[in-house]
Structures are given as C-alpha cells and as structure tokens.
Symmetry: C2
Subunit: 131 residues, 2 copies
Amino acid sequence: MKRNTFQRTLITEAIHYLNHPCADDVYAYVSKSHPSISKATVYRNLAKLADDGHILRIRVPNGADHFDYQIHKHYHFHCDECHQLFDIEIPYNEHFNKINPVDGFIINNHSLTFNGICDKCHPSNNKGKKK
Amino acid sequence: MKRNTFQRTLITEAIHYLNHPCADDVYAYVSKSHPSISKATVYRNLAKLADDGHILRIRVPNGADHFDYQIHKHYHFHCDECHQLFDIEIPYNEHFNKINPVDGFIINNHSLTFNGICDKCHPSNNKGKKK
DNA sequence: ATTTATGCAAATCATTTGCACATAG
DNA sequence: CTATGTGCAAATGATTTGCATAAAT
C-alpha cells in the first residue's frame, strides 16, 4: 500500500511541469524547493509511478530514460545534440504489436524512436542553441 | 589510418560467428582463444568497426548495445527474458526518415524495436530456457 | 621511427540497492 | 505501532578514458 509523501507529490508535479524530463531533470527541479531530496528517492518514485501506470517511461536508445505524464503510447524524437525529447505526431501503431514475425514469439510492445537534430540545434538556426 | 591487429581480426570474426552479440559476448568469445584481450580493446574495436560502417550497432532500449555484421538497416526483437536479439522480417521503412513531424527538425534515422518473450523463454515451452 | 593500438585500472553515467532512520496511515 | 518511504553511500552494469607500453606500417 502506498503513501503520499511530500517528495512523491513534488516529483509528480515536476513531471507535469517539465517537458519529457529524465530523472536528473526531475531531481534538479525538485531540489530547488526541497534541497534535501535524494536522487534515490527520485528514481524510486519515478519507477513506482511508471509501474503503476501514472506516468510513462520512455526508454531512449542511448541516453537516460525520460518520463511523460501523457500515458497514452506515442512516439518520440530524440535530438542527438541537446538530448531533448519531443512528441511525434504519428499515431501509435497498435498493429505492430500483432505481427507474428517468428513463430512462438510474443510481442508485448514496440518502441519507435526518431533521432536527428531539432530546430534549435540545427546549424541554420542562428538564434543559438537552447539549453 | 588503421592497422590490422590480431585482436581486431578476432573481434571481427566473433561478430560473424555470434548472433547479434553484445560487447560482453564478443569479449567472452575472443577470450577463449586470446585470454589476454581486454574489454577496452573490444569496446574500442566495436566502436571503430561500427563507425566505419563495417558492422551495425544496435541500440536496445534498456540493455547493452548489440552488434550485427549485417549492415543493412533492419529491425529487431528483444527478448525481455534472455535479452537475445532476433531479426524481424519486416522491411526497413525508409519513409519514416522522410516525415516532417515538426518544422525544422532533421530526422537522421529511426529505431524500431519490438520486445516481448521469445519462443525459448515462453512458459509454454517445456524444452527449457536457452542460455 | 612514428603513429596507432593494447592492457590495465580508474573514471563516468544511469540506475539500483542495503541499511538505519523517519514518517504516513 | 508497523509497514512503507527516505537519505546516504556504496554497488552495479555498460561503456569510456588516461596512461605507459607494445606492435603495425
């Protein structure tokens, strides 16, 4: 049975406030209002929230996991330069989970991640890099 | 300029002999014939071979990178139980790299990885787990 | 003879875990 | 009260890196 701790509340708020944060982003944000929080607590709570389906864990091939309060499955773009994640507006393809590529294999899920350079990091963008 | 070392040859052979090995698999295999090889050498050579396009680096969301001598882009299935990788027989969708989901973003690549349980690890398989 | 590669150990990065203490219910 | 959560530090796993030595060209 779970309890509502101060830190769990702050972590949940951080995920809503930040855009696809990774554990470190959450830690940095929560630390501002509650400096004594430990990273272990952030990791433990993110794991619990994700396990309970309250948030979505996004595994990025290469790089830290990111988290999203939007729990419906969707795809992401990972900027190879600033490592920010962005939502991709193509619908989640449920059909992919129904293909039977090899006999006897059970597909539980799939992950489709695009990578490249975001507009802020592209050289042609002379407004300077974000972050 | 690169040189042909004994260890680079062994590492290249290992990737051809093994099925989608990760760095550790390669290390274990090469160690059998050349026990003095170091893991750093394995990592350095895998990185170089991948950078030079001789092998393909497969980033698995969660879990170690795997390598493939088949350099044409294709998709994989990752068994959540035994962590083995298997080829998926659906064609690489070059079109995915041409979509323009957000203005100004440059997509260089995409990765589509399926995950679930392979036939060997499925509970209904009473032949026992492989590995 | 240079320059690249190797082996080793230490360093990094993301994440997890053991443990004693704190606290929500 | 008592189970769950927290903070800290140490542990883990994958990978990288600094450095002195070895080997390829």
